[in-house]
């Protein structure tokens, strides 16, 4: 008798009310992997797609070949930028809750991804982020006031109130305009890198997508083009386990890793503990060096956990246990770097508390300034700018619509 076929629908290990079960996640020990030469062929690197590069061990020591040996100053700076990202996120969510903006997206738990990766890249390398890498801007010391003005769609919003909050665009620090359409930035990053190579430039590009977005066609396009043209690009997959309510198994992660996808394209892929500042830095530095020396693209899977709700429009208690984040086996990136610095004798709980206070004040002060330029509840006074920048020059049909709009206003 033939067996009846059964359709498999992936389901996460635990749902609301269940006790958290991360037993299926295998965490290799820190320091266990060798750091290969940056010109190693992809065919020799396959194991890295299935393992996990970790530098900080359970005792908060930096161990192994991948230890990037950053100075204490650099580590403290990284800690500061990660904490600033978290403080900023908390504060902006509150702005949404009290109606000063419509929407916000936090990056809680993923601060090491953006900050350490930014550190490992050159300041003029080009970033093609998703909406959850605000830490890139913060690590590049971009103005919090400017970021907040975008969140508020106010008179100083450089993108003139046209975009949903968090869809920043900051060419001054090589931060590409964030799009709401998932994954589109991935082939764009590859194209930018191709252009840099075409031009004989020295700059490389880096793109970011989430685990869920790897299912989009653009992911496939990006990896194909990156491989074919050996584009100097780093293609990052931030696997934070969740795409809104959908666990990473629904994106195809149940039987394999996202890094492993790259193997089939002939690209090197490395998988890294995304909550380990040092490991993220080291992996990114390796990939950057590889790209910069014409050895082509690297895919990095950053293994982490989305601690916050997907957005201010989301309630994760409807689909996952509330305490999952607390039990995430790779912990909290800020706490781990903090403990590492304390262990080195380069930091203390008192200093950390003082830093937290200082950053709270910094964010509050920026907020006061940003609010002085208005919030969504006191919007910019020139809606006529909505007709600009559709094209470089306003074509006749838009000029007519602008005139029509002006005549409507006069009737008020």
């Amino acid at each position: 008798m033939k067996p009846r076929l059964e359709l498999h629908i992936p389901e996460p290990a635990c749902r609301p009310g269940d006790s958290v079960d991360f037993s299926a996640i295998r965490i290799p020990p820190a320091g266990g992997l060798a750091r290969p030469a940056v010109d190693a062929p992809a065919s020799e690197l396959r194991d890295y797609a299935y393992s996990l590069i970790r530098v900080l061990d359970d005792e908060h020591r930096a161990v192994g070949d991948w230890n990037p040996r950053l100075t204490p100053d650099r580590l403290r700076s990284g800690l500061r930028h990660m904490l600033l990202t978290r403080v900023y996120d908390e504060r902006m969510v509150r702005q949404q809750r009290i109606g000063k903006t419509s929407f916000y997206i936090k990056s809680t738990g993923e601060e090491a991804v953006a900050v350490a990766q930014s550190y490992a890249l050159a300041p003029d390398d080009m970033l093609f982020p998703s909406y959850r890498q605000q830490g890139l801007l913060i690590a590049r010391d971009w103005s919090l006031v400017d970021m907040m003005c975008q969140i508020f769609s106010n008179t100083k919003d450089r993108i003139k109130g046209r975009q949903l909050p968090v869809m920043y665009s900051v060419p001054e620090v090589g931060f590409f305009s964030v799009s709401g359409n998932l994954g589109t930035q991935f082939p764009q990053a590859v194209g930018w890198a191709m252009a840099s190579a075409y031009s004989g430039d020295h700059r490389i590009a880096a793109g970011w997508v989430g685990d869920g977005t790897t299912a989009e066609a653009d992911f496939h396009y990006a990896l194909t083009f990156a491989a074919v043209y050996r584009a100097p690009v780093i293609l990052n997959v931030v696997n934070n386990q969740w795409a809104i309510s959908t666990f990473q198994g629904m994106a195809g992660g149940e039987q394999t890793t996202f890094a492993a996808r790259a193997v089939g394209y002939g690209l090197p892929a490395i998988r890294v503990d995304g909550n380990d500042f040092l490991a993220v830095y080291a992996a990114t530095q390796w990939a950057a060096e590889r790209a910069r020396h014409n050895h082509g693209a690297t895919v990095i899977e950053l293994y982490t956990y989305r601690a916050a709700p997907h957005s201010t429009s989301d309630d994760p208690s409807a689909y996952r246990p509330e305490n999952e984040w607390k039990l995430w086996p790779l912990g909290d990136p800020i706490e781990r770097l903090k403990q590492h610095l304390i262990r080195l004798g380069e930091w203390s709980e008192d200093q950390h508390a003082a830093l937290g206070k200082e950053l709270e004040d910094q964010v509050k002060q920026a907020l006061r300034e940003a609010e002085s330029h208005g919030t969504l509840s006191t919007p910019p006074d020139s809606p006529e700018t909505m007709f600009e920048d559709v094209f470089k020059q306003m074509p006749p049909h838009l000029q007519r619509q602008l005139e029509e709009f002006r005549s409507l206003e006069r009737e008020d």
Partner: protein
């Protein structure tokens, strides 16, 4: 001056721009070594090198996605989609990204890319080698849509498109690559060499986007059309004995509304002709604009001649293709409204 067909004129435009601007790169499926399935990029790789004119994987979304990134870097990509029928996998990158980049970034970034796509029917191309998807793009804010009807315009408009800092979708009616097809499929095709518009300057010139051409002056009616249908309409006018003015739009967005309105106000009658399917086709927009701007001058209802609202059939090519007889009927209707 040289006598060129459309393919040679397009090739010449890319040659000129590759020569003038190091930021111009040309790529697409079979575009490089082979020179394109329609030969539009023949010899360009040999002349300018593999990094400037190159083949791509078969991935329209990847072609346009990488082109957007190249544009953000500062290059001026000229991409080819082998058939307009296969532009849809790139739709997200065109609509969500290229078209909106300047707007959504407040002018920080833009996508100065040109997307060449052979379009149109009349070649027994069946469902996926005959489509005219221009109205899908004219509906997208931030994209310019161009369709030339002869070699001279093809070169001048393509150069203007490449130089333009906005994304341009450049549709090339493949039926008229070799000669001005007038819809009389039972007669041999006249080559471009016998047509005045095949006299094309070898060097640089540009035809501004957004300017229509009156290809036949007339007093009794106005035909608004573009692409292959320009020649079909000219043939239909000659056969009908009606002194109709024929306007070749050349650029759909931005639209040269002034030329249309001036003509219709003078003639009092308007027919709109395109190969694309009728419902929600660009003709609907044109008809609506003519009605808004010329209502008090119209002496007959606006006529629309278009492809039927069906996928493009293979065996019934000439029952589907809006030929001169249908255009002539529309002219007759205009003159004798029922």
């Amino acid at each position: 001056m040289s006598s060129m067909n459309m393919i040679q004129a397009l090739n010449s435009a890319m040659d000129v721009m590759l020569g003038r601007d190091d930021n111009v790169v040309v790529f697409g499926e079979d575009v490089g070594y082979f020179g394109g399935v329609f030969r539009a990029t023949a010899n360009l790789q040999k002349k300018y090198g593999r990094t400037r004119v190159f083949d791509t994987p078969i991935a329209e979304g990847g072609i346009i996605g990488t082109a957007v990134g190249m544009g953000a870097y500062g290059l001026r990509p000229v991409t080819e989609i082998q058939f307009a029928d296969y532009i849809y996998p790139a739709f997200d990158q065109l609509v969500s990204e290229a078209a909106r980049l300047r707007y959504r970034s407040g002018g920080d970034y833009w996508a100065p890319l040109t997307v060449r796509a052979p379009c149109g029917g009349g070649i027994f191309g069946g469902q996926t080698h005959s489509q005219s998807p221009e109205s899908i793009f004219t509906h997208v804010c931030g994209i310019k849509t161009v369709m030339p009807s002869n070699p001279y315009d093809a070169k001048g408009l393509l150069i203007a498109a490449i130089e333009d800092d906005d994304p341009v979708v450049f549709f090339e009616p493949k039926r008229i690559y070799n000669g001005p097809f007038d819809g009389h499929h039972d007669k041999p095709l006249t080559p471009w060499s016998q047509h005045a518009a095949s006299e094309v300057p070898e060097g640089y010139y540009a035809i501004p986007l957004g300017k229509a051409a009156v290809v036949r002056a007339g007093k009794e009616a106005t035909i608004v059309t573009y692409g292959t249908m320009v020649h079909v309409c000219l043939a239909a006018v000659e056969a009908s004995g009606i002194d109709a003015e024929v306007i070749d739009l050349r650029t759909l967005i931005p639209l040269d509304i002034d030329t249309i309105v001036e003509s219709v106000k003078r003639t009092g009658r308007c027919a709109i002709v395109h190969e694309a399917t009728r419902t929600s086709g660009f003709g609907a927009e044109l008809s609506s604009l003519v009605q808004e701007h010329c209502f008090w001058h119209l002496e007959a209802p606006i006529e629309r001649v278009a492809g039927w609202d069906t996928p493009y059939p293979h065996a019934f090519e000439w029952e589907y293709f809006p030929g001169p007889a249908r255009v002539a009927q529309a002219l007759k209707n205009l003159m004798e409204p029922v």
